[in-house]
Point group: C3
Chain length 160, copies 3
């Protein structure tokens, strides 16, 4: 029927840090606005991005990342002091606010508005004891085969 098939993007989100939560959500909401059909498969630590108890308070660690943008370069020894993850997180949140970027919950809403499909990985839920009712509204559960089915027919596939 449809002569022109919609373009598709398939993303795996495996990280649960604040910095690495942005790429899948920014790409998916942007693609959705371009009329690209998008699925994000949240696995491993990435499930935190659709866990309603956690997604508003994702953190970023200031250690083991010599490339972290920072007003002052910070040796690893400072990064391990209690409180520095909180400080690294606050610093990044400030930078994000400085350019008026949306928060993670706002981006999730933007994704849902353009019909991004969000699948939380079944074995990860089992492994970590997260229940389906802990997920944000709009997220469903599924396995690797379901992701692959969609991805095999996609124009873009990315592992974040």
């Amino acid at each position: 029927m449809s002569e022109e098939k919609k373009k598709r993007m398939a993303i795996i989100a495996s990280k649960g840090t604040l910095d690495m939560a942005y790429p899948p959500l920014i790409l998916a909401s942007t693609a959705g606005a371009m009329d690209v059909e998008t699925t994000i498969f949240f696995t491993l630590y990435g499930v935190d991005i659709v866990n309603k108890k956690k997604y508003a308070s994702l953190q970023v660690a200031p250690i083991a990342n010599p490339a972290m943008p920072s007003p002052v370069p910070m040796p690893n020894i400072l990064g391990i002091l209690p409180g520095m993850t909180a400080m690294g997180t606050a610093m990044m949140k400030n930078m994000i606010k400085g350019i008026n970027w949306p928060t993670i919950p706002e981006l999730i809403d933007a994704c849902l508005e353009v019909d991004v499909k969000m699948i939380a990985c079944t074995p990860t839920l089992e492994m970590t004891g997260v229940k389906e009712e802990d997920l944000i509204k709009g997220a469903v559960v599924g396995g690797a085969a379901e992701f692959l089915d969609f991805a095999l027919d996609s124009n873009i596939s990315l592992f974040v």
Copy 2:
């Protein structure tokens, strides 16, 4: 002859931690069972996954990952104490066993059974002094051009 070309997936595995060893192997063995022709290119730290001296004892670091699922949130300062990498690794191994997931060697076998091609990156071997005879049976050596040749004709490409 074959009217219907097999679908293909190309994965680069660049990480050698226990947690990040799972995604390429789970995806590849699942895809193989779906009759998808799959190649994994092991490069940088990812070569450990096909190093027979190392692949049964990959580890996961409990620091610098505020998203690590853990019964008790752990400040970075605890993560650097000697023994904590072992404890993080044991914790993850227990979670994996709790849901009857295969071990890395079992997953490698599952991949080989469905004919997943495993290529270890030649320059990484040279750089780290790993010899071809250190690799698990079934792995071959090759370079980026060989990976690209396969990937350019694949339905899915992922960098893990």
Copy 3:
């Protein structure tokens, strides 16, 4: 006019460490030599790779990566001592020199020679205060939509 369309590869480079700067540049320069049209989108920490004040001195952190190849296994507690990032970096630079691999600036030149398009992410520049004149010659600025436009029509897409 052209009956045979050139193959295409789209890469996102999101990491700014020395080890993770290699894969996008090696893949892109290799693909370029194979006549594949390649675009790299530098975002988050990855912008350092095209920042002329930083790209010659990217570093690698020796902690939180139990898979780091090293002559001697190093507990995390050593990794946090001041000076260890420098030592990890020096160690990796030596390994790279040992196999005559190009440096990052040399690889950037190799990419430009085969017409790899390099785009630095506009919001990342705004967030971190990096100016367009801080970028290496040949890099341009652009957003996620520009990357997606290219990637949707590519044979390979990778998120590094």
